[in-house]
């Protein structure tokens, strides 16, 4: 599979804080990728940076993000961005209620998006809006066009967001924790909907998730982030069934399944950006840490079918690890 988007050595500073540290990953064409990690890992920052929503005053970005047929996203002019957002790239937010404008009807928001992105007439856009709402499973779609966002439930708002995001037929969709504000039964509905729609459009999707189990269910590839560094990246099944990085292993051990009898969370919490170790940022909490870990950053190297950045990976015999 060729890469639709290739993020290469993305480093992002906010002031003196290094929020992202040399992040690289590829999004396969027609595939789904999950950025997982805890809060402060930089998952959402990556999505926001790739959508071109960061101004130069807020953050300084180094590295490349090559989108097929478009080029490096970080060198685009503001004018070029307006052509790409909504058509090549689109985004679904965690809080659909806040992402939809409360002053306009649902229909009005979809119609204006369609007219802008696809150049449809008002009438055609309206017809297309009804189709879109139906396709995302909103009952009685024609009547719902006149509804205001607050009149819809959280699940319905998220469906509207998905309809708007997909209206421009984007090549790449970002879904930033699309279900974490929803009930579990609705979560299953929405995740299925996103995956079905992405598949039907032949698009790729980057999910930002904190739930490893959900990532294993929905994504082909997983990138595990910790404090802005890639810890481990690769095929979801390989990586999550048999983690090599101690952080992935600990994160997985924290996932509660029914019947879980023991939890072994990493101790402490993420260090502040002012006190980050120069090497591996997980070194301060890592049970496998070696003396060199805090000072020397391990490179992301292939191992057992995935890429790992660790000097002392787990699940590897001692002799081999050296």
């Amino acid at each position: 599979m060729t890469a639709l988007l290739s993020v290469q050595n993305l480093t992002l500073h906010r002031g003196s804080r290094r929020i992202l540290d040399d992040v690289s990953f590829d999004v396969p064409k027609g595939g789904t990728l999950a950025l997982v990690g805890e809060s402060g890992a930089g998952k959402s920052t990556i999505a926001v940076a790739l959508m071109g929503l960061l101004t130069r005053a807020e953050a300084s970005v180094e590295g490349k993000a090559i989108l097929e047929d478009t080029g490096d996203l970080f060198t685009l002019r503001p004018r070029a961005w307006t052509r790409i957002r909504g058509r090549r790239l689109a985004m679904i937010f965690q809080d659909a209620g806040a992402a939809l404008d409360p002053c306009y009807t649902v229909g009005g928001q979809i119609v204006s998006t369609l007219r802008r992105n696809l150049g449809l007439s008002r009438k055609a856009a309206r017809a297309r809006a009804v189709e879109l709402l139906e396709s995302v499973g909103i009952p009685d779609a024609a009547a719902r066009l006149g509804a205001y966002p607050h009149e819809l439930s959280g699940g319905m708002q998220q469906r509207v967001m998905i309809a708007i995001a997909l209206s421009g037929n984007p090549a790449l969709l970002f879904a930033d924790e699309p279900t974490s504000a929803l009930d579990v039964t609705i979560q299953a509905q929405i995740m299925r909907l996103i995956l079905d729609e992405v598949r039907a459009h032949g698009s790729s999707c980057i999910f930002v998730l904190h739930d490893l189990a959900l990532a294993s269910q929905s994504c082909d590839e997983v990138v595990v982030l910790y404090a802005g560094q890639v810890m481990e990246a690769g095929d979801a099944k390989t990586l999550l069934s048999d983690p090599r990085h101690p952080y992935t292993a600990l994160l997985k051990s924290c996932v509660l399944e029914i019947g879980t009898a023991e939890l072994t969370p990493p101790e402490g919490s993420v260090p502040s950006y002012d006190a980050m170790p120069a090497g591996c940022r997980f070194a301060t909490r890592c049970p496998n840490a070696l003396p060199r870990c805090a000072g020397e950053k391990p490179p992301l190297v292939p191992r057992d079918g995935r890429n790992v950045a660790c000097w002392n990976p787990v699940g590897v015999p001692k002799a081999e690890a050296a």
Binding site: S39, R192, A213, S241, L256, I258, T264, P265, E267
Partner: protein, 346 residues
């Protein structure tokens, strides 16, 4: 401390109806009856841990407010150690206040931002006159150590603490009055998994070493399974299934519990076939089972009969005419099950 197994809380056919007025026109208003809880029957025994599980709109928050005496049931009785809860709360230093401690989901919001951690934890100690004034700092330090916080946190204010730390402070403050019952409303949700796991280990340890009775409201079946022996599943203001947590989750009797179970993410399994539709509004419910509209196993009699909570297996109760396991808990047992044998003995 009362004997092992005596009921602490008893809810007898508790009903809570909120009335809301809504403008239907410039001058017209209509009053709607919104039944948040309907016929809830629950018994919480000493030294047990109970998970109240349900989605938003299931009535679990209302149930907690009734357990805490913040709302009075519209019908039925809510008892604390045999006395109506609202009565048990009367009086400034009534045993109820000391005995029942609450941990809020929004831990930060439940702590006065103008008070230091030390003042926050000392407040209940002082209020219940648990020790001499000069012993208070030592006691606060002991409580902080108990919840795994360093001693220097005592001088900090909530705004200077991380989300996980604030939750620990809220737990320390709840423990300060030496309660026997801990009511926790989504106490670990909205946190990172590693922080959540740390807190769950802490709560499990507190429960074990201090003999606490735990009422844990959660939407996360994994949390319920890890922390609680018993579970009560709520749907639309009603308890639809109760029983030992792992029995219920491994072999649910009610189709709604089964759907919840399936919807919980599990590693490498395809995303389960979701339930159709959403939880309906409790206003103007049709007759019959409230879950019938979304139930994959609905039959014709489900639309006519509203099944009460009945025994399906020893120790297991479900409100379903056609349960997935055991004998039907529906109309057949209805006559004898309801009044004499208080079901849902937890």
């Amino acid at each position: 401390m009362s004997e092992e197994g005596a009921p602490i809380f008893e809810l007898l056919d508790v009903e809570k109806i909120f009335t809301i007025t809504r403008a239907t026109g410039p001058l017209k208003r209509e009053t709607l009856r919104l039944p948040a809880l309907d016929g809830v029957r629950l018994r919480i025994k000493q030294n047990t841990s109970l998970a109240l599980v349900g989605e938003s709109g299931s009535g679990k928050s209302t149930l907690v407010r009734i357990l805490l005496g913040l709302n009075e049931p519209s019908n039925g009785q809510a008892l604390f150690r045999g006395r109506p809860i609202v009565e048990a709360r009367k009086g400034l230093r009534a045993p109820f206040h000391r005995d029942v401690a609450m941990i809020y989901q929004d831990a930060r919001g439940s702590l006065n931002p103008r008070m230091s951690v030390e003042a926050l934890i000392a407040e209940p100690i002082r209020h219940f006159r648990l020790c001499a004034e000069k012993e208070i700092p030592a006691r606060v330090a002991a409580l902080l150590a108990r919840v795994g916080l360093p001693a220097d946190v005592a001088k900090a204010y909530p705004a200077g603490l991380s989300g996980g730390q604030v939750r620990r402070v809220a737990i320390a403050r709840a423990l300060a009055s030496e309660p026997s019952v801990l009511v926790a409303d989504e106490a670990v949700s909205g946190l990172d998994v590693s922080t959540q796991a740390q807190l769950l280990n802490l709560l499990a340890d507190l429960k074990r070493t201090m003999g606490l009775t735990l009422v844990f409201i959660t939407h996360d079946l994994g949390v319920a399974s890890y922390l609680c022996q018993e579970i009560a599943v709520l749907y639309l203001g009603r308890i639809v299934e109760t029983g030992p947590t792992n029995d219920v989750l491994n072999a649910p009797a009610h189709p709604y519990s089964a759907a919840l179970r399936r919807a919980a993410p599990a590693f490498f399994e395809p995303i389960a076939e979701p339930l159709p539709g959403e939880i309906p509004s409790p206003v103007n419910l049709p007759p019959g089972c409230r879950f019938a509209g979304r139930c994959p196993r609905r039959q014709d009699d489900c639309l006519a009969l509203d099944p009460p909570l009945g025994r399906v297996l020893p120790g297991r109760h479900a409100a379903c005419i056609h349960p997935l396991t055991g004998s039907p808990g529906g109309p057949a047992e209805r006559g004898d099950a309801a009044p004499s044998n208080p079901d849902a003995v937890l």
